[in-house]
Subunit: 408 residues, 2 copies
């Protein structure tokens, strides 16, 4: 009988210290059966990534990206070697491999490389010897044999890409939570673990603030229809399955509520209402590298209008500088900014067929005296920008209003 391949990925908190590495090793050994092959992707040990970054930044504020990749990739090389040792010590054969050894070929975009191809030959050879293969996550190699890294959360991408290349049955993402929840359990006690969620919903949740999995890797999983099982490293309980859209899933309109405090708002007042003025503003802001998200332009009754938009908090300074400059140029009014905002979103692919979802969201917030500042919608999500201090309450009342505390 041909064995099926399971790809497992363990994050940094799962291998934060030697004891946890041993626990993870035991778990891996336990999940190896006579009819499966295991390929395990591992992140760097707990704080290693931060420590390495700190060293680089104590040399220069702008470390060259190629050298950063050279440096940062050692974190995963260390953890995969240690994990292989721990497994071998338990009497199971294992072998660790770097991104280069696996043949994870990427482009040359250091610190944010994209995977082109994966040559699975070396892995297949190891699997044919019944070895458990431990792969250093987050890293690859360019055609020129330069070490590259895939960006923060890149180990998820390594796992999903390997699952695709090896035609794995499932890609298991092990983490320090038990799965995907209807919302953050720290905000809502009644938050429920979601049994099954679609790729689209998960992508939306990830990009709107749920931090369990990197959005880019879910995109890849969706593209190749690779089922993902998000589950806890410390419990044998089933977690959340991320799968393709299914009829049955459509029944629920709203799958979860997210909250995200990473954005800040900029408002340019009294912008002359002329064609092409918005383009001028946003091309100026984009040129700074700041990513503009929600944009709201008030209906103009006079010949002037207010334009508000959000950017990531980390980009606020450069965006603000650019906004002030362009405001002066186009003879607009004051430029205001607001840091204490939060984005609260509801996500669910059922929105496509259900009506009244937006209305219920706005009514619920209004009933609770929560003022909505900006609104943004996608096909399967609705986001409101509100004040940061009201955001806990907003998540709680929305979670209840959409009956998320009652789903099985």
């Amino acid at each position: 009988m041909k064995k099926h391949i399971v790809v497992q990925k363990y994050g940094g908190s799962s291998v934060a210290n030697i004891d946890r590495i041993k626990t993870v090793a035991k778990r891996i050994v336990d999940s190896k059966t006579t009819n499966n092959h295991l390929v395990v992707v591992v992140s760097a040990l707990g704080d290693t990534t931060d420590e390495l970054e700190e060293m680089a930044f104590s040399i220069t504020k702008t470390p060259p990206e190629r050298e950063m990749d050279m440096l940062m990739s050692t974190g995963e090389q260390i953890s995969c070697a240690l994990l292989a040792m721990a497994i071998k010590t338990m009497g199971r054969d294992a072998i660790s491999l770097t991104g280069q050894q696996v043949g994870i070929q990427t482009d040359k975009a250091h610190t944010r490389a994209r995977i082109h191809t994966i040559c699975g030959q070396r892995i297949r050879k190891a699997l044919s010897k019944n070895q458990i293969v431990i792969v250093a996550g987050f890293q690859g190699v360019s055609l020129e044999q330069e070490i590259t890294t895939l960006g923060r959360g890149g180990s998820d991408l390594t796992a999903v890409a390997l699952a695709q290349a090896l035609k794995a049955k499932v890609c298991e993402i092990y983490t320090d939570v038990k799965g995907i929840y209807t919302t953050d359990p720290r905000i809502v006690k009644q938050a429920r673990k979601i049994k099954t969620i679609t790729f689209d919903e998960m992508m939306e949740m990830a990009s709107l603030g749920a931090q369990v999995m990197q959005a880019r890797s879910i995109e890849v999983a969706k593209k190749f229809n690779i089922p993902i099982h998000v589950r806890s490293s410390f419990s044998k309980e089933e977690g959340t399955m991320i799968v393709k859209n299914k009829e049955k899933l459509e029944e629920i309109a709203v799958r979860g509520v997210t909250r995200n405090k990473s954005e800040a708002k900029i408002t340019i007042c009294a912008v002359p209402d002329q064609p092409g003025i918005a383009a001028k503003i946003f091309s100026a802001v984009s040129q700074t590298g700041a990513n503009v998200d929600i944009i709201v332009q008030n209906i103009s009754h006079t010949r002037h209008t207010d334009i508000s938009f959000t950017v990531l908090k980390k980009d606020i300074h450069k965006a603000l500088t650019a906004a002030k400059k362009i405001a002066e140029k186009i003879k607009a009014g004051d430029v205001l900014h607001e840091d204490d905002i939060a984005r609260v979103s509801i996500v669910g692919s059922g929105m496509r067929s259900h009506t009244g979802i937006a209305a219920l969201m706005f009514q619920t917030l209004a009933k609770n005296k929560i003022n909505i500042d900006m609104i943004s919608t996608s096909e399967i999500s609705i986001s409101c920008i509100i004040s940061s201090e009201q955001s806990d309450k907003a998540v709680q009342v929305l979670h209840k209003a959409f009956n998320l505390d009652k789903i099985k």
Copy 2:
């Protein structure tokens, strides 16, 4: 004009922390001129090697060697990336390269690999762009693309092998001392820095206890006649040149005195005096992997004899177990062992032509009431095993007797 290549090697203490990395970077930038190319080999940051080893040993007492190499090689990858960053920050172009990227091809003997060939192509390409090349020491890659390491002190070997492959003008070994001394300055205050020493003398000194440079790399330097300059990372002063034998050097009979406490002595008493009995004993001991060094067999007046030999202290347990077993088998007497011994040696290629060197050594020790336990000689060295507590004194009186405090 064609530029000449200089290979520099900086040890772990020279890059022990970020400040020292910056100091070393400054030194490298200062030594880059318009008519040289620099290739810099760097060891792991100060304690990194020990820290990585500790992690492995907290998982298992016998970490698999392949995984050890995977783990340990990260130390040098980190330091070379940081050093390249520091140099670039100072406005000079630099690039770090792993053993794999340089193409340091080794055999498959993990943790003690031997270099087969070096493909210098990648380095030459970088040099042609006038980049300073920073190479991760101590590591290579097997034909199967497995990461290998060259054993402790292996960065010296990387430097010498690169100097050979690139036809470098000189190989500079930067360390925390100012050069090679006539003896350990911690034992003899009057110890003098040696200006020039031959490869043979240096090899002998290194294997007899002088720890500045790895013996194996001096052997390679000798084989390819690569001049080595041992000097301080923290001073611009000239250090010690290690060169091929020269007429002029022959004038001095004794170049230095070394002391080594790494050995222990085992004595098998009342060994039956039969042909082939020594072979039996030493093949039994060797089979444990213990390296037998000095062997002394007392002249046999009766039909029994005593056989003494030294092994490295770290091997004493296994050697002793084997010795006791074989002693019982061949019906010999007691097996004794002595840990508190030291080997004191005088080294000098002038011994070949000078007479009376051994006599002066023995007389000097006798005059100072230092008892000689065992004697061993090579073409250019004489070693005496004495009690450990008398070894400081022995080094002092020998240093004086051979006028080493007076050489220029």
